[in-house]
Amino acid sequence: MENLVQMALQNVNMAAIMPSLVLCCFGMFLLMINVFMPRGKTTAASLISLLGLAVTFVVTLRAWNHPELGFAGHVALDNFATFFNVIFLIAAFLTVLMSDDYLHREGYPVGEFYPLVLFTTAGAMWMASGTDLMTVFLGLEVLSISLYVLAGLFRGQLRSNEAGLKYFLLGAFSTGFLLYGTALLYGVAGTTNIADIGFYLSAHGKMLQNPMTIAGMLLLAVGFLFKIAVVPFHMWTPDVYQGAPTPVTAFMSAGPKAAAFAALVRILILGLGGLQADWSSLLWMLAVLTMFIGNVTAIYQTDIKRMLAYSSIAHAGYALVGLVAANAVGISGILFYMLAYTFMNIGAFAVLVLAGKQGEDNLTLEGFSGFGYKRPFLGVAMSIFLFALMGIPPTAGFAGKFYIFAGAINAGYIWLAILGVLNSAISLYYYLRVMVYMYFREPQEDYGWVRMNPGTVVSIVLAIVGVLYLGVVPGKIMEMAKMALF
């Protein structure tokens, strides 16, 4: 019996889970604090969660170049995980900054919003640092369940209810796929450890073509591609993005997407590298479909949140190109792109947070008529984010797309790169249209007084700094992304 306790303690390495541990501690502390807070006072909670995220950020940065393994091969805080952890923390930080005022405006000042965001971030961290399918799966579940709740947070709004329920039902369904895939791979290799699955498959080459292995890979991929919102698993995205509270949508479009990419890259490259021919040809088709369907459907949207949802589908397609290439440039391109996308997309949503009125019915193309003149700062900010989303230099979007498509060309996927660039051209249409409305249309109605909430403004400014920094001097971050490869 004591022997077992010793064995258990031997595996424990707190340093390997320190960032998520700090986040969870802050999350639980916040849950407790909320009990004693008067109803509707959430500013303190938001400040404490910002503090928690900042502390975690410091802890995370200390782990750079100091890889830690632990818990019997269940978690690895390597540079790859740390890079993604930084992305999640930035996404969460920007989200929390813009949330407090928004929650009050919409009439749902729920204190539990903040601990849930922290737990979501911790779940994303377990996905990125998990080296065992079980850890990755549980991380995904923590992330998803918090997100279902956050999406349906506005209980009195039908759209939010719909978002929460739809996300929950489809998400639970996709989790089933993921778990089934895990079970099949466990049946093949006798282990759920990702690296051990890779070793087993390379030692037993004929298992690679066993239908059980291929089915396991496909089912796992479906689970993650659902979270990334890749066509044909994207059906939930527009409704959920439109219905969820805007800061939640902002977070959802950046954090979980990056987390699912992290897990997918680790599993496909480390665990199922022997099947690369199979999964890369599959992802090739999905990437092209995702880019085209995302971009073409976005053209027909008049609601800005919905348009950004389709644009986020298209961006998932671009990032997938890097995974198809599966070389150093392509994979580090994904890392870079996810960071860049976090800044530009969350920034765009932060502008929507300030531009929206209660109920957010004015967030349509028409509603943005003349917006650029009435609200010069927000207009300029929105333009920068839209330029970044288009991929125009000197913004982060250009650098990100450049690295990803360069990776594809290096790997010999020239057609894929051409189709990607073509898609960027398609996307110009609907991004520019927003700017046409902002600057070349007469204002339809009086905007009234927009409360320039300092938190949201700080969030927008930080996002602008990020977008421009990554766009003007991408070299340093790209070097770090290359160091993050395993």
Binding site: A8, N11, C24, H74, V75, Y108, L138, P211
Partner: protein
Amino acid sequence: MEVLFFYLVALVAVLSGLIVVTAKSPVNSALALVNTFFCLAVFYVMLHAPFMAAIQIMVYAGAIMVLILFVIMLLNMGVEPHKKPTHIAWGAIGGTLVLLVSILFIQRGDTARAVGNISKDVVLREGHTALIGKAMFVDFLLPFEIASILLLVAIVGAVILAKKEV
């Protein structure tokens, strides 16, 4: 003999599973679900996993089913009015495809091998329950702890979404 027994129980399991989704009254569905759980417990026994079988009956057939029945009772759900099912053609096509692919897998798949560290001898030597305990608290300690956070999040979420006033 064992194979015959397996097919018998499997037949009951699949039939009760079908009743779960087709039954009009939720109470019938729930009772059929209990039946499915019991059949699964029998499978565990056949796989030489008596502890899992006991847990299956206590937790699923016992605790969780009681909860489900309570919910049915409290919500006062009646018999669902008969609705004409839609998308039957798609369901049939999808089901047939899944069946064909499964047959292909079973034919080509090699399921008779045993891989991994835990063989029949190890189970006999160390004991089934001890192995589960070791797996849970030594090898899978971190996932076990993450599961506790998962439950916490689920509880908080349920309270937020269901409470009258937050």
